[in-house]
């Protein structure tokens, strides 16, 4: 006799299995289409090594900067209710829903005609420079960090902090000794996803930092440049490396933390 509710379980299982199969097919196609020799030779290519180094440097820097800003913002949003919070929420999450190209154009105008002269006087160059890469990556990935940190902080019972206060903690000490350690898995998960987003950032970076070979050339830029030049095998090899790095980082994180990274 079939148990009640079984058809529903079968349907959701089938849909999940179908989606996994589709994703496997898509990524297997990418892996299979590229040539193994291309990947092996890739690490000898100065252009790839430059793009890899720049990508790692800028993505780590952007992730750390995003973390520094997103921790107080996420905590503030998790703990406070005020009139107009929906508007503030929407503003902070705007870069998530905006096409990255639009964010890039906005950044270009802000750091170009608007702020450019002042920055120039201060000796800071952002537009069409590697620093611009960090700014663009930071700008696009920041809302993801805020959102995930906010969820992590909201999951910590505010009364934990209250107890800490009665045990002698100042507000900062209760945050540092109680909230942050308890929210640590969520914070690390958010940082991982933020880093993954910065590593793959293309649209905003292209607008603000430009697509200049061996100057602002991150791995996504390298793929774009190779594709426009018709060097498909080089592009596929880089894409494969990015895919493997993303898979490796995500899996390692999940195994290490034994927790699901949720966005």
């Amino acid at each position: 006799m079939r148990r009640q509710g079984e058809p529903f379980s079968t349907i959701v299982t089938l849909i999940t299995a179908a989606l996994c199969t589709l994703l496997l097919a898509v990524f297997a196609g990418l892996l299979g289409y590229g040539e193994t020799e291309s990947i092996r030779d890739l690490f000898q290519e100065p252009e790839f090594r430059f793009a890899l180094r720049l990508s790692l440097q800028t993505s780590v820097a952007a992730t750390l900067l995003a973390t520094v800003v997103a921790i107080p913002c996420g905590y503030f949003l998790a703990r406070n209710h005020f009139p107009g919070k929906v508007v503030v929420d929407s503003l902070l999450e705007l870069p998530i829903v905006l096409p990255p190209l639009v964010s890039g154009v906005a950044l270009l105008i802000f750091f170009g005609p608007l702020l450019g002269p002042f920055l120039q006087e201060a000796g800071i160059a952002i537009v069409f420079t590697p620093l611009g890469v960090i700014v663009a990556q930071w700008f696009v990935a920041l809302p993801l960090a805020i959102r995930s940190f906010r969820q992590a902080f909201a999951a910590v019972d505010p009364r934990m902090e209250k107890v800490a206060r009665t045990l002698g903690c100042t507000p900062f000490q209760s945050f540092w000794r109680v909230v942050l350690p308890i929210a640590r898995p969520g914070i690390l998960g958010g940082m991982t996803m933020t880093w993954a987003r910065t590593l793959g950032e293309f649209g905003a970076t292209a607008m603000l930092a430009g697509v200049t070979r061996m100057k602002t050339e991150t791995l996504p830029m390298a793929i774009y440049l190779s594709m426009t030049n018709g060097d498909l095998s080089f592009a596929l090899a880089i894409a494969t490396v990015l895919l493997l790095v993303a898979l490796l980082v995500l899996t390692a994180f999940k195994v290490f933390m034994r927790t699901e990274v949720q966005l």
Binding site: D157, K162, V163, T166, L167, G168, T170, V178, I182, R184
Partner: protein, 401 residues
């Protein structure tokens, strides 16, 4: 001997979200175990948090040992605080949780702190679990650790927000003993919010009843349970018999006349009754355990009720009381329902009004009662307690302590 005044709360008012406190005044002495009862949303937790300095006070003053601490941050007050769900820090072991307050001060390894930890571990029976993480503890263990954490630095005042409500009856009974021990032997004053009236009676030396952020009544638990000051208090404190009627004047004395049966109960004790005007609609509030149920009527005296044989003063033969003091009021009733409640039997009787009587099992066995039988109900005149009907209460929250 003069009692040491620890906490003096004067006109405390504040609003936090949907909750508020309105002009609360009360005092806590060092030897007090103050229990706070009240319905959900009455502001009990908010009051504890205000005393701990966790929420800002809008009006009024809090004095601790004559010092104004109204604006002092919680870390300087150092009152122990334990919530219902223990709130242990999951990233720390039991030992680290208990030592948390000392670690904040950089004293976690001080010899006196280590001694105190050993002492608490022994008293609270948590020695074997000191190296565990909170997720591996039972509810009772968590609450004991939470108490140990709050007590480590020997706070003069312990604030407890329903600390035992989520525990099973056996664990709860054990922890109640423990709290009595902490209060009595460690000399810690306690303010304990609870929904459990038995717990309030068992632990409390004083009691506050809060409702809608106002102090509704204060006194000893025995006073509140025996003599609630209003219809609301009587209903909230689950007085089983709340009989509608009014104050009558007869034979130069005050009596309570029931609405449905026009029976007279009394004469009412002057204290309490004197504040109600004759004719004022009111309720007779009397606990089911204060009514005695017998098969035979006692010798009767006193005024006749308007409806013939009814309740009247009787010279009761209560050996414990001196002659003249032992006044009882008795009336006949018909048994309509009998319910066994474990240690007592709840007998529902009809005598115009519906009366609930709790008969101890030992006494019940000698009665051999059946439904439909006529019995005699009696209570001491001093237990007759009249409360005003809702909407006619006088203000009871001014200057209570």
């Amino acid at each position: 001997m003069k009692r040491e005044l620890l906490l003096d709360v004067q006109g405390l008012s504040l609003t936090a979200g949907a909750f508020s406190l309105q002009s609360l005044s009360f005092q806590v002495h060092r030897d007090d175990y103050l229990v706070i009862v009240g319905p959900t949303g009455s502001g009990k937790t908010l009051l504890l948090e205000a005393l701990a300095g966790l929420v800002a006070v809008e009006a009024g003053r809090i004095f601790y040992q004559q010092q104004d601490i109204t604006a002092a941050p919680p870390e300087t007050r150092r009152f122990g605080f334990a919530y219902q769900d223990s709130l242990l820090y999951p990233h720390l072991t039991v030992r680290e949780n208990i030592l948390f307050g000392a670690a904040v001060q950089g004293r976690a390894k001080a010899p006196e702190i280590r001694r105190r930890l050993t002492e608490l571990a022994e008293v609270l029976a948590i020695g074997p679990i000191l190296n565990r993480h909170p997720e591996r503890l039972s509810g009772g263990e968590r609450q004991r650790v939470s108490l140990a954490r709050a007590l480590l630095l020997q706070p003069p005042l312990l604030l407890l927000d329903e600390p035992l409500s989520a525990l099973d009856p056996q664990t709860r009974a054990g922890l109640q003993q423990l709290l009595r021990h902490i209060h009595r032997d460690e000399g810690v004053a306690v303010i304990h919010v609870t929904h459990d009236f038995a717990e309030a009676m068992h632990l409390g030396t004083n009691m506050l009843l809060l409702n809608e952020g106002r102090l509704w009544q204060s006194g000893t638990p025995q006073e509140l349970f025996a003599r609630p000051n209003s219809e609301y208090a009587a209903r909230f404190l689950r007085v089983e018999n709340i009989i509608p009627g009014s104050i009558r004047w007869q034979d130069d004395q005050r009596w309570f006349g029931t609405e449905r049966s026009t029976r007279l109960f009394g004469p009412l004790p002057e204290q309490g009754a004197s504040e109600w005007q004759v004719g004022a609609p009111s309720f007779l509030a009397i606990r089911a355990s204060y009514i005695r149920l017998t098969r035979e009527a006692q010798t009767e005296s006193g005024p006749e009720s308007e409806s013939g044989p009814g309740p009247r003063s009787v010279s009761a033969s209560v050996p414990a009381l001196a002659e003249g003091q032992a006044k009882e009021c008795g009336w006949p009733a018909t048994v309509t329902e009998i319910t066994f409640q474990g240690s007592y039997v709840e007998v529902t009787c009809h005598a115009g009004d519906c009366w609930l009587v709790h008969v101890p099992i030992a006494h019940w066995r000698s009665l051999h009662l059946q439904q439909g039988e006529t019995v005699w109900l009696a209570c001491q005149v001093s237990d007759l307690h009249v409360v005003p009907r809702a909407g006619q209460e006088t203000s009871m929250d001014d200057g209570l302590d």
